[in-house]
C-alpha cells in the first residue's frame, strides 16, 4: 500500500484572505519575520497496490479535474511510502 499526497494551493495571483488573516495574527503571537502566509489543502490518498506510472497518471487526472480547480489553483502530486501500519 502506498500513500499519494496531492497538495493544492491557490495560484500566486489569487487573493488568499485566510492566509492573510493568519499572517496578520503572527506578530500578535510573537512570531516575527514571516512576510507572507498562503493556505492550501492537502489530500492523502491511500492507494491499493503499487503506484506505477499508470496509477500516477490517473491520480494526476483526478487532481486536475476534481481535487483542484485549475482556474484558481495549482497542485502537485507526490508519492509517500508509508511504513507498514503496526499500531
Amino acid at each position: 500500500m502506498a500513500r499519494v499526497v496531492v497538495d493544492v494551493m491557490l495560484k500566486p495571483e489569487i487573493l488568499d484572505p485566510q492566509g492573510q488573516a493568519v499572517q496578520r495574527a503572527l506578530p500578535r503571537l510573537g512570531f516575527e519575520g514571516v512576510s507572507d502566509v498562503r493556505q492550501g489543502k492537502r489530500f492523502e490518498l491511500e492507494v491499493d497496490g503499487p503506484v506505477d506510472d499508470a496509477a500516477l497518471a490517473r491520480i494526476h487526472e483526478l487532481a486536475e479535474s476534481f481535487l483542484a480547480n485549475t482556474v484558481i489553483e495549482d497542485f502537485t502530486v507526490k508519492v509517500e511510502e508509508v511504513a507498514e501500519a503496526g499500531k
Binding site: L10, E13, I14, L15, P17, Q18, A21, F66, L67, N69, V71, I72
Partner: protein
C-alpha cells in the same frame, strides 16, 4: 400554454423550493429535478438553486458538478437550453466550465446576508430580457463563497463581449473582481449570479421587493414565444 422549468435538488440545496415558488408566481410550471437522475423530464429550462450542495466541501459546487443530472444539463446547455445558476448554482456552473472564472471565499471571510443593489448590464440574455439596460435593482445576497475571480484576459473578454450581466453597486460585498455579480456565456442562454432573485418576488416576505421577478417572467416569455 406555459413553460416547464426544472429546478435541480442536490443534497444540501436550500433554495430549491423557493425557486420553484418564484417560477410558479411568474406563471410557469416548476418541475423538481433530482441530482441522481440523468432525466430532465423534458423541461424547457433549468435553474440550479442556491444552497451548500455537498456541504460546499472540497470547493463550492465542485462535487455537484459531477452528479448525473449535471451531465445532461451540461450537454443541453451547450445546445442552447436556458440555464440559470443562482449562488451555489453559479458556483456549479463555473466548476462545470459552462461559465468562465471561479468563485472563492468572501474577502472579509464572513458569511454575508444583505439587500444588495445591482445594475443590470445586459438585457439580451434568456433570463434578463424583462429588465431595461442599466436598470438598478435590489436583490438579496447571501453567501460565503461569493468572490468572483478570473484572469485579466478573461475579465477583459467578458467586458468586451458584454457578458457581465450584473454588477454590484455602491458596495462590493465579497471582493468580486470588477464588481461582477453575474455573467453569461457567449450564447446568452447560461447565466449565473450570486444574488438571489427568487427571494425578491413577493412584497410581503424577504426585503419586500419584487425586483427578482423579471428573471422568471423573462424566461417564461422567451419559452412561450419560441
Amino acid at each position: 400554454m406555459t413553460a416547464r422549468i426544472g429546478v435541480v435538488t442536490f443534497p444540501g440545496s436550500l433554495d430549491d423550493r423557493d425557486t420553484q415558488r418564484a417560477i410558479r408566481l411568474a406563471g410557469a410550471e416548476p418541475v423538481a429535478l433530482w441530482h441522481k437522475d440523468k432525466d430532465l423530464k423534458q423541461v424547457d429550462a433549468v435553474v440550479l438553486p442556491g444552497g451548500f450542495s455537498y456541504g460546499d466541501y472540497l470547493r463550492a459546487g465542485a462535487i455537484s458538478r459531477f452528479s448525473p443530472v449535471m451531465g445532461t444539463v451540461i450537454e443541453q446547455a451547450k445546445s442552447g437550453m436556458p440555464v440559470l445558476g443562482i449562488c451555489n448554482g453559479f458556483q456549479v456552473l463555473t466548476e462545470a466550465h459552462l461559465l468562465p472564472g471561479a468563485m472563492l471565499g468572501n474577502n472579509h471571510l464572513h458569511f454575508i446576508c444583505r439587500d444588495q443593489k445591482l445594475r443590470v448590464e445586459n438585457t439580451d440574455t434568456a433570463w434578463t430580457a424583462d429588465y431595461t439596460a442599466g436598470q438598478e435593482i435590489h436583490v438579496p445576497l447571501k453567501n460565503m463563497d461569493g468572490r468572483y475571480v478570473a484572469d485579466e484576459h478573461t475579465l477583459d473578454m467578458l467586458e468586451a463581449e458584454g457578458r457581465v450581466v450584473f454588477r454590484y453597486l455602491d458596495f462590493n460585498p465579497n471582493g468580486s473582481l470588477r464588481d461582477i455579480a453575474g455573467i453569461t456565456n457567449e450564447a446568452g442562454n447560461v447565466v449565473g449570479l450570486m444574488p438571489h432573485p427568487e427571494h425578491a418576488v413577493e412584497p410581503l416576505v424577504g426585503t419586500g421587493r419584487t425586483d427578482g421577478l423579471p428573471f422568471f417572467t423573462s424566461i417564461l416569455k422567451k419559452l412561450v414565444n419560441a
